[in-house]
């Protein structure tokens, strides 16, 4: 009887283990996310954990917005655009121009409508500037080197230098402080009666960034999953030739995706400018490191992978930044190296690299 019980128990354990292994292998992004969120419980109190998690989400979502364009450009056109960071910087400076110089009164007014208007104007302007430059960049820098990775790396690095120098020419070489709109300053503090996480404080701006980031992810997912353009993009990631055989002009699709990707980098940069409250022409270069880690983690070409990769990077940055600030950057890169060892194609691979 007892022997029977033993075997039965073992059955259950094996079943559980198998289910766990199954989950780990088929949903690696969720598995890692769960791991990432749970482990810090052992090292900090829950209120701190909550603050860090929301902040990490905010950072991750901004990174996602910046990285999504780059991963799509790679997936669809096999173009490695190392100049992507320059578009982030450009977006930051364009957005900051609206907030700091053109609509300072609106941003400082404290009224919800005026703040939203100023933010909207800043984001739209940032996207417009980065997007139009993306058009030129695709046409004059990237198009002549389609299909040649080495030259792509070289010319996009060169292109980034030119854009950053242009930023210096237009906005001057010094840093520009970017104050957040009045309404987004300060923090939301949870009531101390809330169980476990009572008293946790979350900056208003980070909450807003989380909301906007989720909105962008939602819209992008909808476009990619439901619209014809989205189906075309996913089809193009698999085979550009077949898309052409069906009568679609792939070059237009490339151009569209490149512009959209550049515009998103600009939006991410504009959001980041108010997050950091200071901008330099080199900010894009520094952010590129995280962006690269994100797209490698997620699996080049995958929007969903990019989303989870970005959140993982955001969270690990905040957690490690709190526990051992010296190792934040190392942890980010370590995460990438570790995942590459485990899954060389990234979390959600869509293309063979």
């Amino acid at each position: 009887m007892s022997a029977q019980n033993d075997t039965l128990d073992q059955e259950v354990v094996r079943g559980f283990r198998q289910r766990f292994a199954n989950f780990r292998e088929h949903r690696p992004h969720l598995f890692l996310l769960a791991l990432m969120i749970v482990i810090p419980w052992f090292f900090m109190d829950l209120a701190t954990w909550f603050t860090l998690t929301v902040s990490g989400l905010a950072m991750g979502l901004m990174l996602f917005i910046m990285a999504s364009g780059m991963t799509l450009t790679f997936g669809l056109m096999s173009v490695l655009n190392l100049g992507h960071g320059a578009f982030i910087s450009l977006g930051a400076f364009s957005g900051a121009t609206v907030i700091v110089f053109w609509m300072n009164d609106l941003a400082g007014s404290g009224s919800l409508g005026a703040t939203l208007l100023a933010l909207l104007a800043a984001f739209v302007f940032a996207m417009a500037v980065s997007g139009s430059l993306g058009l030129l960049f695709e046409r004059f820098v990237v198009r002549p080197v389609y299909g040649d990775h080495l030259k792509q790396i070289l010319v996009t690095v060169g292109g980034a230098i030119i854009i950053m120098e242009l930023i210096h020419v237009i906005w001057g070489p010094s840093e520009i402080p970017v104050p957040r709109p009045d309404l987004l300053r300060g923090a939301v503090i949870l009531d101390s009666t809330v169980p476990l996480i009572g008293g946790a404080a979350v900056e208003t701006y980070r909450l807003a960034a989380v909301l906007l980031g989720l909105l962008v992810y939602g819209v992008m997912t909808w476009i990619i999953d439901r619209t014809k353009a989205g189906i075309l993009i996913r089809a193009g990631v698999e085979s550009t030739e077949m898309v052409e055989i069906m009568g679609y002009r792939i070059k237009l699709l490339f151009l569209g995706v490149f512009i959209a990707g550049s515009a998103l980098a600009g939006l991410g940069g504009a959001m980041w400018s108010m997050y950091q409250e200071i901008i330099t022409a080199h900010m894009g270069e520094t952010l590129m490191i995280s962006v690269i880690v994100v797209i490698i983690l997620g699996g080049l070409g995958s929007i969903k992978g990019c989303f989870y990769g970005a959140i993982l990077v955001g969270l690990i940055n905040l957690y490690i930044g709190f526990l051992a600030p010296v190792f934040a950057a190392v942890a980010t890169v370590g995460l990438m190296v570790g995942i590459l060892m485990w899954r060389p194609q990234g979390l959600i691979p869509v293309i063979k690299v």
């Binding site: 292109g159 020419v169 010296v326 190392v330 890169v333």
Partner: protein, 390 residues
């Protein structure tokens, strides 16, 4: 004789040979041809960066491996010697230990990166090295107790390599080319006077000794790598570059060759980093590890000519001269367009990098083989014309 020294890989262009000869003479007699300290420093940097760029060319040009971690290895060398000297004092023993540590660390890290590139494909290598190099730089910045953080470390070189030491008691004579040329143009009627003015005294101190260490290191390393690239090993690398699949099918483990290349380049550049620390006597993240420096190395390699070795000499020399002197030229040019908005901004002395970026992109499109490649194309065309006519 010359054939053996150059491993049979000649410049194959008269203009190129002439340029190389001029550079060689200027570097070899450097302290005796240029009197200013700025020129002295620039010459030393050219010697060091010829090695850095040539070792980068071994990866980029000969094997088409794009690495963004070259500055990391350079920094490893520089910091290793700076830290051992900091800990043990300014002895040659400390330098030796620093070199040993640098070589070991560079080898280990390069092997690790190489192993990672076994698992991920070539295109990933660029991205992975970029991220790893960045993490390394952040570490150096953060661990300021041992690295000095952003302030960096001063390197107290042994007395024999410092300005106080005299190798030869009496001063030697130098002949300043710049003074001579300036005089030649401004007062050509007064040639005797000009020549007399051009002669100056050279104190053969430890700095000059250090310069010649750099020079001979540079020369030796360059010829060594030239030999490597013209050996069977180098041929295999080029075969892998042209057609990896076929090279693999012929029985070459491409992965081993790639990793060996990365390790070789890493060790050589780490040694160059050691010399940089000793010559510059000051290391910080900006002058050894910065991403901008990495991009500069890339620019030097591509503009000079990838996969030619001589391109490293031309590229490094040209770039460092531009970095140090193009700003002066632009300042003069800027005077003419002063007041014109945007244009004056673009021509200003601090915008030299803009022009180099433009030059870089254009050279990738129109002269993908760089200056050396282009000179050879012209030389070949000339040769062919001559054969046809005669």
């Amino acid at each position: 004789m010359l054939n053996a020294i150059l491993s049979g890989d000649h410049p194959r262009s008269r203009i190129l040979s002439a340029l190389l000869l001029v550079i060689f003479i200027c570097l070899a007699l450097g302290p005796f041809l240029f009197s200013s300290t700025r020129a002295f420093t620039t010459l030393g940097m050219i010697c060091i960066f010829i090695v850095v760029v040539a070792s980068y060319d071994v990866m980029l040009g000969y094997t088409h491996i794009v690495s963004f971690a070259h500055t990391m290895f350079f920094g490893i060398g520089a910091y290793a010697v700076a830290m051992t000297i900091g800990a043990m004092g300014n002895s040659f023993g400390a330098i030796g230990l620093g070199i040993l540590a640098a070589v070991l660390a560079a080898t280990a890290l390069a092997l690790l990166l190489g192993l990672l590139s076994l698992r991920v494909k070539a295109i990933f290598f660029a991205l992975v090295t970029l991220a790893v190099a960045f993490a390394f730089m952040t570490m150096v910045n953060q661990l300021y107790t041992i690295t000095g953080g952003e302030d960096g470390l001063r390197v107290r070189v042994p007395r024999e390599l410092g300005p106080a030491f005299r190798l030869i008691e009496n001063d030697l004579y130098g002949f300043s080319i710049t003074t001579f040329l300036a005089g030649l143009f401004t007062q050509p009627w007064n040639l005797g006077e000009v020549i007399r003015e051009s002669v100056y005294n050279v104190r053969v101190n430890g700095r000059v000794v250090m310069y010649y260490i750099c020079f001979f290191f540079s020369l030796g390393m360059f010829l060594f790598m030239l030999r490597m690239m013209n050996s069977p090993f180098g041929r295999v690398l080029q075969a892998i570059r042209e057609n990896e699949f076929r090279a693999e099918a012929l029985g070459y483990r491409t992965v081993y060759y790639r990793t060996a290349t990365v390790v070789l380049a890493a060790v050589v550049t780490a040694l160059a980093g050691v010399l940089f620390a000793l010559f510059n006597r000051y290391v910080n993240p900006e002058n050894t590890l910065d991403f901008e420096l990495m991009v500069f190395i890339l620019l030097m390699c591509v503009i000079g000519g990838m996969g030619t070795m001589y391109g490293a000499v031309i590229g490094a020399t040209l770039f460092l001269l531009a970095e140090n002197y193009l700003q002066d030229v632009l300042r003069v040019l800027g005077g003419y367009v002063d007041g014109v908005p945007l244009v004056s901004g673009l021509v200003g002395p601090e915008r030299w990098l803009f022009w180099f970026g433009l030059l870089f992109v254009l050279s990738v499109y129109f002269f993908p083989k760089g200056m050396v490649g282009q000179l050879r194309v012209w030389a070949d065309a000339r040769r062919r014309r001559r054969e046809e006519s005669g």
